[in-house]
């Protein structure tokens, strides 16, 4: 099944500028120093009905996206990863491998409290999903 980013209205409601980037005068759409791609996260479109998930971003994904959450759709983590790249293309490269559409080795999902890098992980509509660095310690 192909996954899609969620619609503009939903995204706008949930993508509050929790990291305070706007407060420092930075543009929400800007070119990444990491990937050189333009962030198109707020111009995504939804072309069909599917289950939306609110993915919480921690660490570098959050800094790249400039926000703590993204809303994307998918029934598995593989679909979710693809949808994240569509929602925020700058994740491709540093976080998600553009060749495979799957997470780099440095990242892991946490689904309902369980750490997983299994792309086949099925998602429930109420699943809590976090995207975090695989290296948890310091």
């Amino acid at each position: 099944m192909t996954s899609f980013p969620c619609g503009r209205t939903t995204l706008a409601r949930h993508s509050s500028d929790e990291l305070g980037l706007l407060a420092t005068g930075r543009s929400r759409v800007h070119t990444s120093s990491v990937t050189g791609h333009e962030d198109r996260s707020d111009v995504s479109t939804m072309t069909r009905e599917t289950t939306c998930h609110r993915v919480e971003l921690y660490g570098l994904p959050a800094v790249i996206a400039g926000r703590r959450t993204l809303e994307v759709a998918g029934t598995t983590l593989a679909e979710l990863a693809s949808a994240l790249v569509v929602a925020c293309p700058r994740l491709a490269g540093p976080v998600i491998d553009p060749a495979t559409g799957w997470l780099n080795r440095g990242y892991v999902f946490v689904v309902d409290g369980r750490f997983t890098r299994d792309p086949a992980t099925a998602l429930e509509s109420a699943s809590e999903i976090l995207l975090v660095a695989a290296q948890a310690g310091g």
């Binding site: 929790e18 921690y58 660490g59 080795r105 750490f115 976090l130 290296q135 948890a136 310690g137 310091g138």
Partner: protein, 602 residues
């Protein structure tokens, strides 16, 4: 064995005399260097049940065979001494150019005993040793001290120094070099007790030859490339401060003296916010390609302060004390650096005091001076009082949370958050069973660096049975001990597909030892066992392997479950049920013969 000098320099600062000490080749092969060698030398030179303040307490600096080979992140020195906080082994690791110059003196380690008749600088100038007057350096912070000594003795020297906290015997004082702190367990206080303000080293000799020079060069290039991969991206891009918001979300961020696992103001203190609003620059340790050291600047309009900040400092001076303002945390971190104090123990001890105030348990001194949760000014004021041992409050808190609670009483022992006297780092163990076990049993006291058992709690297949948790915790300790012996930075640990196999390949190239993965794992276990042997000789008992009472019970970890985990860990280690080490286990690990000349004591 190649890549070693095979000798240590033993300095008696009571008399100013020094002599080389030959390190038996079997010892070098068995423990490699770094933390392994430092632990063995501590056992060798410390009398049984030595007090941390006693002149006889050795202060050991040890290098490892990888230093100077070009292998990335290998420029680290290990310190071992009797900890003024725990009374057990106090081992710390610090990255610096000092490791490189020490290796070029022709010695693998420096052992300092005695007490100087007056404040001194211990100057190791290749194989010459001098005690220089240090009165003019007293009161100076470690960076100023190093700068002064380099202007006096030459730009080619490197310096490890203590700050005012070490001079005043704050029990968690750090040894500082190149701006990096060896802080945990208080080695700076031991140097202070010896009246050594600084150790200055000039080394102009060659690094000892490696076994396969071309092979090491190839391996170094490969490792450098891998060190820049996605496995270290977190450390390069944000640093360890990235942990804070995520840990709060998981409920494992110690907050208000471990009364909670989530901090409502976590977003304000988050690494993501710091990086976007406070980042100044990024630097790397000596001989490191990763560059995880992130510096942040204040933005509150007060005197500008820029400071390196790690997650542990951020949590200890932030959520643990209920502080929401990142500017306060940055100023507090700078104070810890300036005084030369371990930020985890400083924050942990102040958080204990804050809870005393919250509960109405009086502290010494004026109530106006007492620290309070969320009060940034009181945090900064208290840190200064501790660093100076100023007034009865500063003097009390300079003792650390365990001793301070024993003095104050009134039940405050129950909220003194330490294991063996060492304050807990930034992992609330209530929901982390493997980490809880690691905190309880690691010889150093509560530590996230000697056991990275949290990786099991944060993994896809978090083990459920006590036996599997114990097994994984022990293997994690062994890996950490090996990394500290080579040495290599723990931030590289995920750059290996099979750590012990690939580390064995590196050891063969560097040292020429014919070792395999199994032998290297035994090396790690051997080093952990040496540390435990030191603790046993210092009077360790089974009751020392535990957790603070706050973490046990209906709202925390079931004490019976913790007991099951600890018993399983002892079984995995081959130890007796009371935690002692049977002679046959020492034989299995090849330690019996290495300890011929060492008094194990009872």
């Amino acid at each position: 064995m190649q890549a070693i000098h095979g000798r240590a320099l033993v300095v008696d600062c009571s008399t100013g005399t020094a002599e080389p000490f030959p390190i038996p080749p079997a010892v070098s092969a068995a423990v490699l260097g770094g933390a392994g060698l430092a632990s063995w030398l501590l056992l060798r030179f410390a009398p049984p049940r030595v007090d941390a303040w006693a002149p006889e307490n050795p202060f050991v600096l040890a290098a490892g065979p990888f230093i100077g080979t070009g292998l990335t992140t290998s420029s680290k020195l290990a310190i071992a001494t009797t900890s003024p906080q725990t009374g057990f082994i106090g081992d710390s690791l610090t990255s610096s150019y000092l490791a490189l110059v020490l290796r070029r003196t022709g010695f693998d380690a420096l052992v300092v005993v005695g007490r100087a008749p007056r404040w001194s600088v211990l100057f190791v100038d290749d194989d010459q040793v001098r005690l220089l007057p240090a009165e003019h350096l007293l009161g100076r912070d470690p960076e100023e001290t190093a700068a002064t000594l380099r202007s006096e003795l030459g730009r080619d020297i490197r310096v490890a120094a203590i700050g005012r906290a070490g001079e005043r015997l704050v029990r968690y004082a750090a040894v500082v070099n190149d701006g990096r702190l060896a802080g945990r367990t208080g080695p700076g206080a031991v140097l202070g007790a010896k009246r050594i303000k600084a150790i200055a080293v000039r080394g102009t000799g060659r690094f000892p030859a490696v076994a396969d020079r071309d092979g090491v060069h190839r391996a170094a290039r490969q490792l450098a490339t891998r060190s820049l991969g996605p496995e270290t991206a977190k450390y390069r891009e944000l640093g360890t401060v990235a942990n804070l918001a995520f840990f709060s979300r998981l409920g494992v961020l110690p907050t208000r003296n471990f009364q909670a696992g989530s901090f409502p103001a976590a977003e304000a203190l988050s690494g993501e916010r710091l990086v976007t609003q406070h980042r100044a620059d990024r630097q790397a340790c000596a001989a490191c390609t990763v560059g995880c050291e992130h510096h942040f600047r204040t933005s509150d309009g007060g005197p500008a302060t820029t400071v390196r900040l790690e997650y542990e400092t951020l949590f200890a001076l932030g959520s643990l004390c209920g502080i929401e303002d990142p500017n306060v945390v940055l100023r507090a971190a700078a104070l810890c650096d300036r005084y030369g104090m371990d930020a985890i123990s400083a924050g942990g001890t102040i958080a204990w005091a804050m809870e005393c105030v919250e509960r109405g348990v009086p502290l010494p001194g004026s109530p106006d001076e007492w620290p309070r949760f969320g009060d940034g000014a009181s945090l900064l004021r208290t840190l200064e009082a501790i660093g100076e041992r100023r007034g009865p409050l500063g003097d009390l808190l300079a003792e650390g949370s365990r001793r301070a609670a024993a003095i104050i009483g009134q039940g405050s022992e129950t909220w003194a958050m330490h294991v063996k006297g060492l304050e807990l780092p930034g992992y609330h163990p209530k929901r982390l069973r493997a980490m809880a076990l690691g905190f309880a049993v690691t010889p150093r006291g509560a530590c996230h660096n000697r056991t990275s058992a949290y990786e099991m709690d944060f993994s896809e297949d978090a083990p459920a049975s006590a036996e599997r948790i114990a097994q994984a915790t022990a293997r994690s300790e062994d890996r950490s001990a090996l990394l500290d012996a080579l040495p290599l930075c723990k931030f590289l640990r995920h750059c290996f597909d099979d750590f012990f196999v690939e580390a064995a390949s590196l050891v063969r190239l560097v040292t020429g030892l014919s070792c395999d993965a199994d032998e290297l794992q035994r090396t790690g276990e051997r080093i952990v066992t040496l540390k435990k042997l030191f603790n046993l000789r210092q009077g360790w008992t089974r009751s020392d392997d535990t957790l603070p009472s706050r973490l046990l019970g209906p709202n925390g970890i079931d004490p019976a479950e913790l007991d099951r985990l600890i018993r399983a860990y002892y079984r995995v280690r081959g130890w007796a049920a009371d935690g002692s080490i049977p002679p046959e286990r020492l034989r299995d690990l090849g330690l019996e013969s290495l300890l011929d000349s060492v008094s194990i004591g009872s």
